[in-house]
């Protein structure tokens, strides 16, 4: 057996022995997610156990160096782990902006001390992070942010407002873009800082969305003290960190288009609408649309895998994340349109036990943000045109 085959066999055996039955199978809804943090909520004790067991091996962040609590796996090993988890339909042990967004930026831009301090608690799910990027006046034009950080010697005093801060009301710490040089051109006066959401002067207010849920907040900073040791990267060069992190965020949002997420649409539709004598979904037009979606979703999953391999082989342009973000978010919206069509009038229910308080409809509405958050689809297309296609004037 090759090393990789040995690793597969061992991983399979370990997962069989350690992945509790409660965390196998498609997720029921958002409450299945484990986000960790100081006020962590677990749907069942098994969810907690699963997170802890995976975290102990560093497999909540499989490819991070083991020196910072990660799994220390090679890309090929990580692929094996992912495929073995898919095989038994193991759910993700820990959902985390720390793992998906901040961690990769810290690995690239953080000092050794910062990595030692911040990464291990992320892997263990002890600290839950949120992202302070967008502001009321800075959406697509993110670099125009106005939140000010005034220099007070060994610390800054931060004043301003963020918006669309995902789960700010439940997060322990924030990674945040602040303006440290108001005189400089807009991209050159921004710094990337970290601070505790429990710091005096931080307040949050949830925003109710069309789904009726409040995954986002407005976040206000009123004379918030931020230590200078919590600056990541170079002063006034936070835009470099922000861009690198955005690439990870875009990959994460794009990954929502992954075909492996949730029950197959064909199955959802046949359960809801039945089949004809030949065993085909009794709704030919919907059937064709789902089949086309499946092809695109399968190809997208392979494109994500290929980009990952290109990154590893240093053959990828950094802007390639925009491609995944653009396609994955549009694909996810398509998936949920089809899921609504498959549900028919049943999917229109908004309240009550039968519909789990309108879970299908609320999920559908939530996905409409996918092509807005993390940079709109139009911004991604601009980036592709400029950086990957070198079109003039872009």
């Amino acid at each position: 057996m090759t090393d990789l085959e040995t690793f597969r066999a061992e991983t399979r055996a370990w997962l069989e022995a350690n992945c509790p039955p409660e965390v196998r199978g498609p997720r029921d809804g958002d409450e299945d997610y484990v986000w960790g943090g100081r006020n962590a909520v677990f749907k069942t004790p098994a969810h907690k156990l699963w997170m802890e067991r995976m975290a102990a091996r560093g497999w909540t962040a499989p490819e991070w160096p083991s020196a910072y609590g990660g799994g220390g796996l090679s890309r090929e090993e990580a692929k094996v782990l992912a495929s073995e988890m898919r095989r038994i339909q193991a759910q993700m042990p820990l959902a985390s902006f720390g793992i998906w967004m901040l961690g990769p930026a810290l690995l690239a831009f953080g000092t050794e001390e910062q990595k030692q301090r911040f990464l291990p608690p992320i892997v263990r799910g002890e600290i839950r992070w949120c992202q302070g990027y967008s502001e009321p006046g800075s959406g697509s034009d993110l670099a125009s942010i106005q939140t000010r950080a005034e220099d007070r010697g060994d610390h800054w005093i931060v004043n301003g407002q963020k918006v669309w801060t995902s789960y700010a009301d439940q997060a322990d710490w924030i990674f945040c873009l602040v303006r440290t040089d108001p005189e400089a051109p807009k991209h050159l006066g921004i710094s990337f800082v970290l601070f505790d959401m429990a710091t005096p002067g931080v307040s949050t207010r949830p925003i109710t969305l069309i789904s009726g849920k409040s995954p986002f907040c407005e976040t206000f900073f009123d004379d918030v003290r931020v230590e200078k040791e919590n600056l990541i990267g170079t002063l006034n060069r936070g835009w470099d960190v922000a861009k690198a992190l955005l690439a990870h965020e875009r990959t994460m949002i794009g990954a929502m288009g992954d075909v492996g997420v949730g029950r197959p649409l064909g199955q959802i539709a046949t359960d809801a609408l039945g089949v004809d004598e030949a065993g085909r979904l009794d709704e030919p037009s919907l059937r064709a649309r789902i089949a086309d979606y499946d092809i695109d979703a399968a190809a997208f999953r392979l494109a994500m895998e290929r980009v990952g391999d290109q990154v590893k082989a240093k053959q990828a342009h950094p802007a390639i994340a925009s491609m995944l973000k653009y396609y994955g978010s549009e694909l996810n919206k398509r998936r949920h349109e089809l899921s609504m069509a498959a549900g028919g009038s049943d999917a229109l229910e908004w309240e009550g036990e039968r519909s789990k308080d309108g879970a299908v409809a609320r999920d559908w509405l939530r996905t409409k943000a996918n092509s807005i958050e993390g940079g709109t689809s139009e911004i991604q297309l601009n980036i592709i045109a400029k950086h990957l296609l070198q079109l003039p004037g872009a």
Partner: protein
């Protein structure tokens, strides 16, 4: 297996691109077309394909080939898609060679060496109606004398007009069976069909065609396995050619966007066109990933290789279709002229889309496989 080419595969790609750009650029296709070449392909080029080791890419070294795999065949198919080169590669090196490699007798395998040398041209006759439908083959082979008597009509037989031998899929009492047939046999009628892309196929009619038992490839009734192997590799290679043609049409179009001026601006400055180009780029990247994944799945002997090839063929087909339509539209009036190459890409993609099942065919199969 990472979804990128290995160093050796990249070298093969450079070699194939370099060779075709030098010896068979689009001008080569135009010359064959405009001179109404009786073969529709260059036999010199086919021999050179043999010398380069391209013609025998998947043929074992023991049979005179290069002994490489599906990914390498796909690399060459992609290059052929970029230059739109008419070549016996698909019919002989991919389809016929896979059948003979899988099930051929020692005598039949002698053809493999001739294919590898670029000396022989073989065809696989599967389709019978206007759409690819290998599950509905009606051509019959009845036992007669010490062999079989065949009756039926085949269409879209790639290179059938110049084939030295034709592999015919026919029904027998024992099930689907493959026959290796000499087109000179009495009762075989071959009609060349010049297609929209100036590539060639043939209609092959079989009327009481008598063949000996040794014309059977493999066992009687055991044709499905080797046929499927050929169709799966063929679809993945057709996907690669679609990727090549679509990507090349896109490159030509990008260049046009960077140089053509209207309203005092380069037209590539207009966001309406930038966004369409960026979308197309994304779609092409998906098609490339799906195609390479299918080729790798075939090499690894994975059970999902057939489905992966279907996904690749469907995706590459739809994407290439978008690429050539955008190419003509963004070129404007000149895109409609015969002088500009983009129209040739549109024609080639249409043919490749029908070859071995279009996107609808593969979507239908995928839906069935997924149980809906």
């Amino acid at each position: 297996m990472p979804l990128i080419l290995t160093e050796e595969q990249t070298m093969l790609q450079d070699a194939a691109d370099g060779f075709l750009n030098e010896h068979a650029p689009i001008a080569h296709l135009r010359k064959l077309r405009d001179s109404r070449d009786p073969d529709g392909v260059s036999r010199d080029l086919w021999r050179a394909f043999g010398e380069m080791g391209f013609a025998g890419v998947v043929i074992p070294e023991d049979n005179g080939g290069s002994g490489l795999g599906a990914v390498e065949a796909g690399v060459i198919a992609e290059s052929l898609g970029r230059t739109l080169t008419p070549s016996p590669f698909m019919g002989s090196s991919v389809l016929a060679a896979t059948v003979l490699k899988a099930a051929g007798s020692e005598a039949q395998k002698a053809w493999l060496g001739k294919i590898a040398a670029g000396e022989a041209i073989l065809s696989l006759a599967v389709d019978e109606g206007p759409k690819h439908a290998p599950a509905k083959i009606a051509t019959r082979a009845e036992r007669a004398g010490n062999g079989f008597k065949l009756n039926g009509a085949k269409g879209f037989v790639i290179d059938g007009h110049i084939a030295d031998a034709v592999i015919v899929a026919a029904q027998t009492d024992e099930g689907l069976t493959l026959f290796l047939i000499d087109p000179q046999t009495p009762g075989v009628a071959v009609e060349r069909t010049i297609m929209v892309d100036a590539h060639n196929a043939a209609r092959v009619t079989l009327t009481d065609v008598m063949v000996d038992a040794d014309a059977v490839i493999g066992a009687v009734g055991a044709g499905q396995g080797p046929l499927d192997a050929a169709l799966v590799l063929g679809r993945a290679c057709a996907a690669a050619s679609l990727v090549g043609a679509g990507d090349q049409a896109f490159k030509v179009t990008l260049e046009y966007l960077r140089t053509r001026k209207q309203f005092g601006k380069l037209i590539g400055e207009f966001q309406a066109l930038q966004h369409r180009a960026a979308h197309l780029f994304t779609e092409l990247e998906l098609a490339k990933a799906a195609t390479l994944a299918a080729l790798q799945a075939i090499d690894a002997g994975r059970p999902d290789a057939e489905q992966a090839a279907g996904v690749a063929k469907a995706k590459a087909g739809r994407v290439a279709e978008l690429a050539v339509q955008e190419a003509v539209q963004m070129h404007g009036g000149v895109g409609m002229t015969d002088e500009f190459d983009v129209g040739l890409f549109m024609k080639r993609v249409r043919v490749l889309n029908e070859l071995l099942g279009d996107a609808g065919f593969h979507a239908e199969r995928l839906a069935r496989a997924q149980g809906f």
